[in-house]
């Protein structure tokens, strides 16, 4: 059995734990940000080291390789310029049609690049920390994406760092639609695919949905958080659930969440 000092210590720790757990959510978030701020010097040091290593790697690259890279980038630049010119024409045309139909104007996205500096140490959440915070204009629930598609949303904002909850986490429900069939559904986390965090489930699709593997799934803007049209992934397979009332589809996310390094935060 435990002795008296053990009971006293246990009592103190239980009181401390309950007091912290029962803090109002706003206060708890502030305390959490204050505690995580202790790690800012380490994050800074880690970032500087990473940059120094990259720089050192660049200095030892042979000239031949650098020239080949410049050639390739110039070719890509030309192609992208052509594509941008085409898209600009289409955008003008789109804007003209929208004004003719008296539809509201599309607003350009204000994107802020950010680096992923840490991952959730607990295995039961899918979150990352980025090096942008309220000083950069980041707000809670701001959508986060990268060149491949949707990454998640900002869940907590500190002054210099923020926490992003990734698609597939139980705290990140996304309203989506299948691009071809316009079927609406909601992304739910899946734990049925061991070791593959790139598969999630889309629930609440109608039972008559005409789905097929490979169809693209995009955000639908119904939740009010994510703008319409961000690529989420592609359908892998589907099946009926709840005695045939709904269809559930498994989708492969277009973003590899295990290899996230740089993302963009969509500012309001």
């Amino acid at each position: 059995m435990l002795r008296r000092p053990h009971y006293i210590a246990l009592g103190i720790v239980v009181v401390v734990t309950v007091a912290i757990l029962k803090l109002p959510s706003r206060t708890a978030a502030r305390v959490k940000l204050a505690v995580s701020a202790l790690y800012l010097p380490l994050f800074g040091a880690s970032d500087s080291t990473q940059k120094a290593v990259e720089k050192a790697g660049n200095t030892v690259l042979p000239k031949k390789e650098l020239t080949a890279q410049i050639d390739q980038l110039q070719r890509e630049n030309q192609q992208l310029r052509l594509r941008a010119a085409q898209l600009e024409g289409l955008a003008h045309e789109n804007a003209r049609f929208r004004s003719l139909l008296q539809l509201p104007k599309l607003v350009d996205w204000n994107l802020k690049p950010a680096r992923v500096v840490a991952r959730d140490p607990a295995n039961w959440w899918r979150t990352v920390r980025i090096d942008r915070g309220s000083r950069d204009g980041v707000v809670t629930n701001a959508p986060v994406l990268n060149l491949d598609g949707l990454v998640g949303r900002v869940s907590e904002v500190g002054f210099t760092h923020s926490q992003v909850v990734l698609v597939g986490d139980p705290n990140c429900r996304v309203s989506v639609l299948v691009e071809e069939t316009r079927e609406h559904g909601i992304i739910e986390p899946t734990t049925s695919t061991p070791l593959d965090s790139t598969i999630v489930e889309v629930g609440y699709l109608s039972r008559n949905a005409k789905l097929a593997p490979g169809q693209r799934v995009i955000t639908s803007s119904y939740g009010g958080i994510f703008p319409k049209g961000i690529v989420v992934g592609h359908i892998v397979d589907y099946h009926s659930v709840d005695f045939g009332l709904y269809t559930q589809a498994r989708i492969k996310l277009s973003v590899n969440m295990n290899a996230l390094e740089e993302v963009f935060v969509k500012l309001p």
Binding site: H6, A9, I20, V35, L38, D120, P121, N123, T127
Partner: protein, 183 residues
């Protein structure tokens, strides 16, 4: 044990949490992140007193929860319970045996996530738990078991380098000295 020993343990816990958050090698290789605070708690429970155990549980738990999506404070109690039990029964544990260290470290690394999960479910959160969690749990047990002897060696070395060692009592007593020769 000195306050320097406590400070070294807390500094190690701080760095462990940082490493778990930033080093993704294990996660990429095995699909799960390992949790090393329970194994450090075993060392602390077997080598220090209750104040250090409580400090490690509170500080380590807060640091871990602050960098995670966990509600603040859920990890404190599981860590402390493990430390408390080990400290209470440390007379029965062969703490110098590497095999015993590994076994007890593995058990602690399995117990802490389970207790944390129970606390977490009582706060009405929905953690991502499924079949994959069993694999993650096994990996945590293995990593915790392997790391526990490392903490003993590391802190043994640090203690040698940074702390004074108390002198052992000699059998010499001046009043029992045999004086030879004539006076």
């Amino acid at each position: 044990m000195t306050s320097l020993h406590t400070a070294l343990i807390l500094a190690t816990a701080f760095l462990i949490v940082f490493a778990e958050a930033t080093f993704g090698g294990v996660r990429r290789l095995f699909g799960a992140q390992v949790e090393l605070l329970p194994s450090l708690m075993i060392y602390t429970g077997l080598s220090t007193g209750l104040p250090t155990i409580a400090l490690l549980a509170i500080c380590g738990g807060l640091w871990l929860d602050a960098l995670s999506a966990n509600p603040l404070g859920v990890t404190i109690l599981p860590l402390f319970v493990v430390g408390l039990v080990v400290q209470r029964y440390r007379g029965l544990i062969l703490r110098d045996q590497r095999f015993a260290q590994m076994i007890i470290g593995g058990c602690a690394s399995g117990a802490v996530p389970l207790m944390t999960l129970i606390v977490l479910l009582n706060t009405h959160r929905q953690p991502l738990v499924g079949w994959i969690s069993i694999w993650q749990w096994v990996l945590m047990i293995l990593a915790g078991g392997l790391m526990t002897p490392v903490w003993f060696r590391l802190f043994g070395w640090l203690t040698d380098k940074f702390m004074y060692r108390s002198l052992g009592e000699t059998s010499f007593r001046p009043d029992r000295e045999i004086k030879r020769g004539r006076d």
